[in-house]
Symmetry: C2
């Protein structure tokens, strides 16, 4: 087993998601995950802190990644358009997750603890995006509203993309969700 | 002291918010709250389960109240317009809270535990609204997006109303926030 094995992480993730689905998140153990993946506990610890981390690994980078994408967007764009561009940009970060998205969502929906963790994650992303939108000139109240709506559009687009990965790409899903929302908002 | 005293609840709430602001939420005790309000622990227990409940009392009724308001809205209205009408309707429930809104928000912002409780509360409201929007014919993905955006509009309108209660009324704030959002969404 090489010390750094990009496939090991993926095997552990797949094994964990299978076990969570079969036995329930609370009943699955790290020992079962490593056994199913045919890997050691030491290898598991190289990639994940604990079983919950399998579902949230990398999410601590999300707030900065999303805020930086907002900062990098064309300075000529008004705030929400800059945010949409950033969401599309950031979508590349998630391309690797799309194959597990439906499984992951079902597991999170099964556990209040995981739902709370997911909300905390989204709140941190929202807060970082608010800051970036304020730097682009939005006042605090508008920045908060737009950041929350942007995250909602992102989430909607991601779920639709994950459900039909053979259909439109993520960028098109973001534009489609934003356009759908705009149509609903206009009486 | 009469057995049912509508002012007692209000005095306890005011005393609690003062103490949370002065000493920090974690350091304030129910004993201090009742002492400041000049009331007994028994009276406190008539209105609130514990000190956290002072900030969230009544919130268990919110999901049903909001969903029912969506169901009652004019059947001719398309989903998001029905939701806006419901938000305005439900705003009356919150009129009594507006005087404490800024204080309450600052206290919640000071504590990760309270922020998490607030997010759980909003998630429960969102879920109930999704159900009501689905009954009005929205598909699940759209209903989720619209419910989240509606709650965001509600929150934005409520904060603006609370910040300048002498200004526009809540209904006008909801329409203003929705119109502002629509303008941002249209490139």
């Amino acid at each position: 087993m090489p010390r750094w094995d990009p496939e090991a992480k993926e095997r552990l993730r797949a094994a964990a998601l299978e076990l969570f689905a079969e036995r329930g998140y609370d009943n699955a153990t790290v020992a079962q995950i490593t056994e199913r993946a045919g890997l050691t506990r030491r290898t598991f610890s190289r990639y994940f802190a604990d079983k919950r981390d399998v579902l949230f690994a990398g999410s601590e980078q999300l707030p900065d990644a999303m805020a930086d994408a907002v900062r990098r967007a064309d300075p000529a764009l008004p705030p929400f358009q800059a945010l949409l561009a950033a969401l599309v940009d950031a979508g590349d970060l998630f391309a690797g997750l799309v194959s597990h998205a439906a499984q992951r969502r079902a597991i999170i929906a099964s556990s209040p603890e995981l739902q709370e963790r997911e909300r905390t994650k989204l709140a941190a992303v929202t807060e970082a995006v608010v800051e970036a939108l304020r730097e682009r000139g939005a006042n605090e109240s508008s920045a908060k509203m737009l950041a929350q709506v942007g995250i909602t559009v992102f989430h909607t687009a991601f779920e639709r993309w994950a459900e039909h990965p053979e259909g439109a790409d993520f960028a098109a899903r973001v534009r489609e969700a934003a356009a759908e929302l705009a149509a609903h908002l206009t009486p």
